[in-house]
Structure formats: C-alpha cells, structure tokens
Amino acid sequence: MKYGDITATLQASNPDQVPVSLSNLTTNDWIAGLAGGALIGVAAVLLLWSIGRIAGISGIASGALEGARGDRAWRIAFLAGMMLTGALVLQFMPAPPRAQTGTTPLLLAAGFLVGFGTRLGNGCTSGHGVCGLGRLSVRSLAAVAVFMACAMATTFVARHVIGAAP
C-alpha cells in the first residue's frame, strides 16, 4: 500500500484524525477570510473615526436594549446596517443552512453563556478581538487568550470526548 493510500484510508476511517493542516482550506477560503476580515477592520476604523466608538457587537447590542435613551440611535443604526447587509450578502454566498442543525438545549445554553460572559467580560470577538487587539489593550489580549482557549477546550470536549455536539 502506498503512503497516499494509507493516509486516504486513515482519513476515511477516522475523519476526526486528519492532521492540522492549511490544506483543508481552498485558496478562495483564505482570500475570502482576509477580505472579509479587512472589511470588518475598515468598519471598526470608520466607527472610531466618525463618532469615536468601539465596534464591539456585544456592547453595542446591550446598550441598544438597555443603555441611555439618547445613546441608542447610533447603536440601532449600526446593528440594522450589519444585519440587513450581512443577510443581503449571504444571498450571493454559500450561506449557512436555515434549517436547525443544533439541538435546542445546546443552542439555548450556548446563547445564555455568550450573553452572560460577554456582558461580564465587557466584550466579545469584535470588541476585545478586532478592536482591543488593534489598540494593543492588555485587558483585551488577556480576554482573547482566555476565550479562545476556553472555546477550543469546549469544542474539543464536545466533539472528541463526549462526541455529542455538531
């Protein structure tokens, strides 16, 4: 059996054990990733330049629902622009499935933890990640390290120890 046959057999029999590799990514994927990331970065720069605000979605959203009344219009405008444009672009992209793919208890638990944790930790992937790292904030660097590590550990346990999550 040639080496290629052996790896093909291994991959077929145990798809979870494919070695970490960039080869899982097509050229289109990483170009789309970089381009989308750059758009997100430009969005954050535009918001800071124009009105002096950090483009952190969890903070913008909680402020839109519970913040001071005079400080809500820009938040609602940002979220509406993001949701409508995002949904529009997905009409021309390989979009995520509309039909439910995760179990309801898992999605509810995950939603609760994300809402609770981002409020307690003052930020999410955008506020601490995109903006905080861009500002070289020590707090954001610590937050990103912790949420990345916890997310990877959780996915590992869910997929490879329990074998339950999607």
């Binding site: 990331g37 969005a43 124009s50 990877m152």
Partner: protein
C-alpha cells in the same frame, strides 16, 4: 437622521458584509476553527488577522485626531488592569462560543438571514446579558 447615525449604519453595513463574505456567519466554519484537534479550518485566523491588521495600523492615525470627525469625543475603555471579572466573563463566553460556534455579531446576522439556530440562540443571549447586567456587570 443625523450624520452620526448614517456613519454608524455604514460601519455596521461594512461589518455585516465582512462577516458574510468570510463565512463567519456559518457556525460550522467557526467550530471548524475551534476544533484544533479535528479537521481544522483556519479561516477564522485569516479573518481575525485581516481585521486586526487594519485596526492596528489605522487606529493609530485615527486616535491622533483631537476628536472624532463628526464631533463628540473618543469613548475608549479606560481600564488597563486585568481583573477576575474580565477573565471569568471571557471564560464563560468562550465556553458558550465553543458549544455553538456563534458569537454576538454572526448570531445577529443569522437572525436576519433566517437561520433557525440563530433564532434559538439570540433570545438566550439577550437573557444572559440582561441577567449579567442585573448581577453587577455594566
């Protein structure tokens, strides 16, 4: 509509387009990144890298201004100490993110795009945030 509101809508539009173009609205792609011991999908690293490359360079120039272009003042986080609440919050967020592959932005776009998973996730996220606000978080 004030110019500030238009600017915020434009920023949000770019942000949402970026999430959609980079497939960050697809939680299976995000989980593929978080699953470093499985069939790893590094797309998210390119997205975060692309975004931070832009903010790290351009924030410097923006913050040299005395004030934002449309008036008011820069509203930046003032703290620089790493406290327990920050780390516990980040850990709880990470666990939720690792369970479903949704963070706040993509879940909101998912709701607008009619993704059922996002419709289930979002109310729980709002409830979690509201309760964290009641127990002392800002």
């Amino acid at each position: 509509m004030s110019r500030a509101v238009v600017a915020a809508a434009a920023s949000g539009a770019l942000f949402g387009a970026g999430l959609a173009v980079s497939s960050m609205t697809d939680r299976s792609v995000v989980l593929g990144f978080l699953d470093v011991f499985g069939r790893w999908n590094p797309t998210l690293a390119f997205v975060m890298g692309g975004a931070v490359a832009v903010t790290a360079v351009l924030f410097r120039f923006v913050l040299k201004r005395a004030a934002p272009a449309l008036g008011g003042e820069f509203r930046l986080p003032q703290r620089d100490d790493v406290d327990v609440r920050l780390l516990v919050g980040a850990a709880i967020f990470g666990i939720g993110w690792g369970l479903a592959g949704f963070c706040p932005g993509p879940s909101l776009v998912g709701v607008a795009a009619g993704v059922t998973d996002a419709w289930i996730f979002l109310p729980a996220m709002v409830a979690g945030s509201w309760i964290a606000g009641r127990v002392g978080a800002r």
